[in-house]
Symmetry: C2
Subunit: 337 residues, 2 copies
């Protein structure tokens, strides 16, 4: 028998096959390092000019000497120039595609995997995330800053294999973020407690979906996981926004992420995955609307291995089917820690 589980945060449903015991896998992707990777140190002239970089003191912009480098996406889907204009096309509506599209290059070297970066390097990347969000939050037109990683072609990764994250700044709060904000707000107004704080407490007590807890974070497989081996990482300290992360949390999170991806590599053989930083919207343009957000939202990171493809069922319903129960995934991950 399967279970149809409700994701309490987004109010969506996942059909979980609780009987299947075989670990789903996809074939390991072949990777050939490109001869002339534009993201490698020394190839700065092959990319647009940098927006931000962590550099050796005194090293000039767009030259060697950086540790983390942020550049505009060379094929942006949204552009920062222009006015935000709404218009109608008969019964339809559109807005112009204003926004920002950046690439965060995570290492000067063409290291193949995130978990092989040094702890310090991952800390620099995590601090760069914070710096970019803070900076873009100054622009009132930008309602939401999404940072994500695509690893492997099945996860939509570009052909450039050099470790990097993507950033897209949007002129509207996306629907999935709104679902999460609504779920968290409804829970808070009913219970007067943060939904995510309650999830942390319950998952530690029940322990069957708990992967591990560090001083500052818990890592779990969510109750209504959409994908086999989906992972949720939540800071233990209640905090509505990633921009409030402190140095001890950055250091701790760097270790947690490296641990998770190292285990992924061992169990699932370097699977395609996405990492998504679920942060609050930009409060600057909507300070009135979002006054409740500080106590009812709690930032978190989702990691979704893409070892299953959506069929017409998922497209037609908006439901997900997950053929490997999160309790089993957590147990396997714990055994490999």
């Amino acid at each position: 028998m399967s279970e149809v589980r409700r994701d309490i945060v987004t109010d969506t449903w996942v059909i979980i096959d609780t009987e299947n015991d075989s670990i789903p896998k996809v074939a390991r992707e072949k990777k050939e390092p490109p001869d002339e990777c534009p993201f490698c140190e020394g190839h700065e002239n092959q990319t647009p000019n940098e927006i931000y970089a962590i550099r050796e003191e005194g090293s000039p912009a767009n030259k060697k000497g950086w540790r983390v480098r942020v550049i505009p996406n060379i094929k942006p889907i949204l552009k920062i120039e222009g006015e935000l204009e709404k218009s109608g096309v008969g019964v339809y509506d559109m807005v112009t595609g204003i926004g920002a599209n950046e690439v965060i290059i995570e290492s000067p070297k063409h290291t193949p995997a995130f978990f092989e970066l040094s702890d310090e390097q991952v800390r620099l990347v995590l601090n760069t995330y914070r710096m970019r969000i803070e900076d873009l939050h100054k622009d009132k037109r930008l309602r939401y800053i999404l940072i994500f990683k695509n690893h492997g072609s099945a996860a939509g990764a570009s052909t450039i294999d050099h470790p990097h994250s993507d950033l897209i700044a949007l002129p509207a709060t996306p629907v999935r973020v709104k679902q999460k904000l609504n779920g968290a707000r409804e829970y808070y107004s009913y219970k007067e407690r943060c939904l995510f704080c309650d999830i942390i407490q319950q998952e530690i007590e029940m322990s069957d979906r708990l992967i591990f807890q560090s001083d500052r974070f818990v890592a779990i497989t969510p109750y209504a996981s959409r994908y086999p081996f989906e992972i949720l990482i939540i800071p233990k300290r209640h905090s509505y926004s990633y921009v409030l992360i402190d140095e001890s949390e950055v250091a701790d999170l760097a270790c947690v992420l490296k641990k998770v991806f190292s285990v992924f590599n061992n169990i699932l053989e370097d699977p395609p995955y996405n990492l998504i930083l679920n942060d609050s919207p930009n409060l600057l343009p909507r300070s009135d609307y979002w006054t409740t957000i500080k106590h009812d939202f709690h930032w978190h990171i989702e990691i979704t291995p893409r070892i299953y493809r959506r069929t017409g069922f998922e497209l037609g319903t908006g439901f997900y089917i997950n053929r490997f129960a999160p309790e089993k995934a957590a147990s396997i991950i714990r055994a490999h820690l």
Copy 2:
């Protein structure tokens, strides 16, 4: 510049790259006909017993002599037996996985593609869709019957290459269907006209997204297409449910579908795709709630080529990015008709 377009039916947003002119493609999938396809005529003993079949008069069930055959899915994600039970797991909720999971085998022969079936054979398939929906609507526990096709592994197709559709009957109306019902109802209460009837009229007038119209149907590329070459097929006659389709519409729809898939094959080289029949929910258990549905909903078919993979952006936002404008796709399809 890109355009951020709103899907008026589901109230979701798609970022459309209106500048790109190169047609996105995926590599043609290699297909090896299985030696012992369980769906081929003569192999009936390799499948569960049939639920329904269109057969030569007098031919016994589960033997040769059928034209279309419906069987239970051998690996069902939902099962018809048992009671629908809701329960809580701490802060979470679940229901037991009650439902039905059927396979509609579209031809006794291992024909590789849908568009190569005869007109008459496609009519038999379309009539079988109606028969199965009507039959399952008698079960009050089943709130929604979804019929869909997965073609190609990137669209989540099974390893069995024999032409077939899938049917899943659900104990709840899925979220995407609810979005559509709500969008249609809101439009109707504001305009006192059917949203889909208005879309048909506008698309015929504007003509830039119109692929073609037959006597009974229009085929368009939707304004907020989520995928390159996405196609929407709508009956011209206002009708809230596929179960009301008449014989002349079945004959017309068979020709329309064959035409669309034949063009897909020519332009996109047999792309992976999903076909989704968007029907009304089962009115039996919710006749009170759905009294408005008869005038405000209008059944339709979505065909979504899967020539683009969702990245962390789509997962994190619920938005889609479509790198090929529907107006360009419609123009290319028209040139190949």
